[in-house]
């Protein structure tokens, strides 16, 4: 424990170097822009900017990229409150009360509440990561292939059980992702598979291309179809409003704490920030004595989803750095970055790459503080970006997506694949297929398969290896519970004589 504190202080020393501080500010600003613009989100924003970091040291690179992520989390709130357009899926719940507040001329209050609660949520999650991650990593060092596979199993089962989308669509999308990930060289035998003699398929499908296509191009097509018309509220944010709101906010400490806990829990399991924000909003609405007024501009309706979304977005990095299993698509892209910079994600990071891990954790603290200052002072600037018409923004985003896709492998065929993924993403999104599990499956496919096959090899093909000791059985059982969660929940509520429709997540 004491050693960890020493490491953290060392991490802070790395982070406050002028070059890293500069990268932090650049990252936050880029992140907010990415979060504000339609068609660019945290995941593909980081994916597109990843190539810029190839020549940096891994620590500087992760500082910049993680700051883009924090910036994107902050940015989503701006568009939700001022324009009623959620820049990111996790800010949808923020529009419910944030936009009515802005219409009543209380935009400053809503923005301050949103940013501050984002900050609180993130800080809570970072403290949790600081305390828990080293323990989890230390524990995970003892994992064999079977245990590692069970962790993947748990992660993917949680997707099926906890996501809003129909479970069989989640399964189809996820398994297709595993299939795409399997194309190319087989890691275990060194054999080529599923390439059908096509030269371009030898290297398989890179998930970064998939991220840029599915989230970037697909999102632009969706936005195009909806035909954007911005009718925004004026974005004024002066210090008086900020301090007034800050005076009011401590009253909601219980709400904040509850939202933090919901966010952390949902963030670690790969359900992610979006369901966390809805769940937190739903529960706040049921418990608050002003619950019936929710949706008309209640400040609690902004605090609850923002706190939870940020706590979830931040804690999604916990399984990424301690186990090598990302909790969200953005965390997956960061994990892809680790591989490119030559680091092996997983529990060994904590022993072999101390500087990197603690630099990252320290940058989470610093990044959120810097982020809060930047968004509080620069809201009008960011809101102005949104007033640029979509017919200017769209081709520029397309160009950046193409550059991002090309630079992954310096290959123009990847740009073609990006467009294919983009069109696929458009249809999948319209038909309610979740994209995140597909991306995570492409990233983790190789590793999950390797762990699975190694376990089977050691047991001579008996599946009993996944129930062979207490640890692996527990994780597998948790996975099965997560997989069948909707059925379990419905059964439980029927037993208690309540209609299943009253679920908090809705």
């Amino acid at each position: 424990m004491l050693e960890d504190i020493g490491n953290l202080i060392h991490g802070f020393a790395v982070v406050v170097q002028p070059f890293n501080l500069l990268l932090m500010v650049v990252g936050i600003v880029l992140g907010v822009i990415v979060g504000v613009l339609p068609g660019l989100g945290g995941a593909n924003g980081v994916a597109i900017l990843l190539p810029l970091t190839f020549s940096m040291s891994p620590t500087s690179a992760i500082i910049m990229l993680s700051c883009i992520y924090w910036g994107a989390l902050f940015g989503g709130a701006i568009t939700s409150i001022l324009f009623n357009i959620p820049g990111e899926p996790w800010s949808v719940a923020t529009t419910f009360d944030g936009y009515p507040m802005a219409q009543q001329g209380r935009a400053g209050e809503a923005l301050t509440a949103a940013f501050t609660s984002s900050f609180v949520g993130a800080l809570f999650a970072v403290v949790m990561i600081t305390l828990v991650a080293p323990m989890v990593a230390g524990f995970a060092l003892r994992f064999g292939p079977a245990e590692i596979f069970s962790v993947y199993f748990l992660a993917f089962c949680s997707f099926v059980g906890l996501s809003k989308e129909p479970p069989f669509k989640t399964v189809a999308s996820m398994m297709l992702g595993f299939g795409l990930g399997a194309v190319g060289l087989d890691q275990v035998t060194g054999q080529l598979r599923l390439t059908f003699g096509v030269e371009q398929m030898l290297n398989g499908f890179d998930f970064l291309i998939a991220v840029i296509g599915l989230f970037g191009i697909g999102e632009i097509l969706l936005t195009m179809e909806e035909g954007l018309s911005f009718r925004g509220s004026p974005a004024k944010l002066n210090l008086k409003v900020v301090f007034q709101t800050w005076k009011e906010l401590p009253r909601y400490w219980l709400l904040s704490l509850r939202s933090c806990l919901i966010g952390c829990w949902m963030g670690i399991s790969p359900a992610g920030a979006t369901p966390a924000s809805f769940m937190s909003y739903g529960i706040a609405k049921r418990i608050s004595k002003n619950g019936h007024k929710f949706g008309t501009g209640q400040i609690e309706g902004v605090v609850a989803p923002e706190t939870a979304a940020h706590a979830a977005g931040t804690s999604a990095l916990l399984p990424m750095i301690s186990l090598g299993v990302p909790g969200s698509p953005t965390a997956a892209v960061l994990l892809g970055g680790l591989l490119i910079w030559g680091l092996q994600p997983g529990p060994l990071l904590f022993t072999e790459q101390k500087d990197f891990v603690w630099g990252l954790i320290a940058s989470m603290y610093m990044g959120n503080i810097v982020g809060l200052l930047i968004v509080l002072t620069c809201v009008p600037l960011f809101a102005a970006i949104l007033r640029i018409p979509f017919s200017v923004i769209a081709p520029v985003i397309l160009v950046f997506c193409a550059i991002g896709a090309y630079t992954v492998h310096n290959n123009t065929f990847d740009v073609v694949m990006m467009l294919v993924f983009g069109i696929a993403g458009y249809f999948m999104k319209k038909c309610n297929y979740p994209l995140a599990p597909m991306v995570l499956a492409i990233v983790l496919g190789d590793k999950a398969e390797e762990a699975f096959r190694q376990s089977l090899l050691s047991s001579q093909g008996r599946l009993g290896v996944f129930w062979s000791n207490g640890l692996v059985s527990t994780i597998m059982a948790l996975g099965l519970i997560a997989l069948f969660w909707p059925i379990i929940q419905a059964g439980w509520e029927r037993m208690r004589g309540r209609p299943a429709g009253l679920r908090a997540a809705e």
Binding site: L52, F54, L176, L194, P389, V399, T412
Partner: protein
């Protein structure tokens, strides 16, 4: 995609038809996956499960899930619209220029192709005057060039124009 005409609110392909298309396409990809897995072997080899073992069962799962999804689509026919034709026209207005752009990158280089894409997009979709379109269209690739080639030293595909300028 099947076409159905609706009595109210504009026409377009039905949501049900597109859903069927997506599920069928996924199942088709999975069939290709199964074929490919069978070719490399799905059984037990010298090094444990063969290379096709994992993709085979994964593809099988896609087929089963798609079958369930298809069954659900037929169970809940509601005649909803996927998107109106005018909306789809807007989507195509992005897809087609992007496809041309992507195809042109290896020949023109990314900078010239990007400039043309931005100018065309602003001129015909945004109805901007030429001067704005050309301004933004020239500025964005130029800044990209500075950022990638000069500051971060990441080379991007270049064509005859850049060769002419000496890069």
């Amino acid at each position: 995609m099947s076409d159905t005409t609706k009595e109210f609110g504009g026409t377009g392909p039905s949501h049900q038809g597109v859903e069927i298309g997506v599920a069928a396409f996924m199942a088709l990809l999975a069939l290709v996956g199964i074929y490919g897995s069978l070719k490399v072997g799905i059984g037990w080899g010298a090094e444990g499960p063969k290379a096709g073992f994992f993709p085979f069962y994964v593809s099988l799962a896609v087929i089963i899930a798609s079958a369930v999804n298809l069954a659900k689509i037929f169970a809940t026919a509601d005649g909803e619209l996927f998107a109106s034709w005018s909306q789809l026209k807007l989507v195509l207005a992005v897809v087609i220029p992007t496809a041309i752009y992507v195809a042109a990158i290896p020949y023109l280089g990314i900078y010239v192709a990007s400039a043309i894409l931005i100018i065309a997009f602003m001129r015909w979709l945004g109805r901007y005057p030429w001067i704005y379109a050309v301004g933004v269209g020239a500025l964005v690739p130029f800044l990209t060039f500075l950022m990638f080639e000069l500051w971060f030293l990441v080379p991007l595909p270049k064509g005859p124009f850049e060769k002419f300028l000496g890069y």
